[in-house]
Homo-oligomer: 282 residues x 2
Amino acid sequence: MPDFKKIGIIGIGLIGGSIGFDVRKKKIAEMVIGYSRKIETMEKAVKNGVIDEYCKNPEDIIKNVDFLILATPISALSEYFKIIKNINPQITFTDVASVKKIVCDKVQKIIGKNANFVGSHPISGSEKSGIDFIKEGLFENKTVIITPTKNKNKIVEKKIEMFWEKLGSKVISMSPEQHDRILGFTSHLPHFLIYTLLSMGKKNKKISKDFFGSGFLDTTRIGKSNPEMWTEIFFSNRKNILKWIEKFEKELKNFKKYLKEKEYEKLKVALKESKLFREGIE
Amino acid sequence: MPDFKKIGIIGIGLIGGSIGFDVRKKKIAEMVIGYSRKIETMEKAVKNGVIDEYCKNPEDIIKNVDFLILATPISALSEYFKIIKNINPQITFTDVASVKKIVCDKVQKIIGKNANFVGSHPISGSEKSGIDFIKEGLFENKTVIITPTKNKNKIVEKKIEMFWEKLGSKVISMSPEQHDRILGFTSHLPHFLIYTLLSMGKKNKKISKDFFGSGFLDTTRIGKSNPEMWTEIFFSNRKNILKWIEKFEKELKNFKKYLKEKEYEKLKVALKESKLFREGIE
């Protein structure tokens, strides 16, 4: 027997759609109901086995499911929190945003401290977005961070943890603050730096694409990510990202100094240590 | 009938070894003779079909081949230029280093203006190095930049161009100075930035590897490259790289300013343009 009766998914993009597909495939719920602002997306989702059926408005989902996943852009979340507050404040739900503090705060502010909510961040995004890129097994062997707040509701936390584990993920629990600090380095900073690097490219348009090798292309793949989504992420984790950028600037100053002042051995040792660190996280 | 009689390769790593393998496979030469400082490498090369035979000292190759490829680290090149000068100054030869000005200058200085040399840079390296990573077809559909100097020898240039074309490459000719300026941006700068980013990781060791997603891993793959080789490259193209680092620092300052001063729209537009540039070079 499935662990969930009706699961609702609002936002059927890469993440929401891949959740729906695997929930159905793995029979984690009796039924998956989806909502997207675009009717074509919902129709495609039904056709491709991503959801069982769709609702033409989010209220119908929020009223009728026993577990809800909000997989929308960050800026759209508050709108759904308000609907939850108004029509089903007891619903158990989570989100999948790449930032957690701002999201958890909004839930508390809009719905209240007793909301049956624990935030989630599946670390399995990619530079692609939208229903056309959903992927079977996207969460398999990937980390999902869940961020219970001080007003913990252990039952809700366990339920959400179990949900991700059913999708094959490794679940790690931490505070929203800690999540945002860490991901500020491991995800947001590299995106910020790569967008910056690419911005130099557009100022040097005379450089033919023949001169960009696979190193440049792989390094900057993340720069093809959705600009609207990433502007939201950068602004939603602004203070942490600014701190990480400043740390990077200092580190770059050090590395540049080695080169400028011809400290050959120091640079070589630094590169060796960087390589060693990189090999350790694979 | 093959286009070359005896081709010599000094340095049987990723690049030298992959050249040997394809030259033999495509029957571009009657014979490929190799030299490496390590006897085990040479024996492996013969066994794996990378070279036909090896010589125990570079002099024997330099004396006996009609085309020579130096595929050694930058720091080892001068030693071979001296041997060429002493025992076969008329030999037609090229190199495969990622920097060109310093290499071309050394050839002129050591062998003289009449050296039958045009430098090459096949843009097909990877973070891997050594004979264990040689790859069939490594140069297929890849760009090779050749850098004739003012004392052009058209016959030599044509011969080297033809050689790379036989390996399936697209050959582009430019001055060593222009090469170093462009590659300073498209290859050397990203490596420098990624080594710097990874250096921050080693200072934040408490961050578990669970938090580094595929975005971080792909972006920093080039940080697994050989540190000795890259220290040499950075120092061999020092002035250009310092200029590019400074341009990057300025650009980062701009991007940071958008975030710091809450210029949401400006950041979004900048990210969009970066993405557009990235899509244009694929």
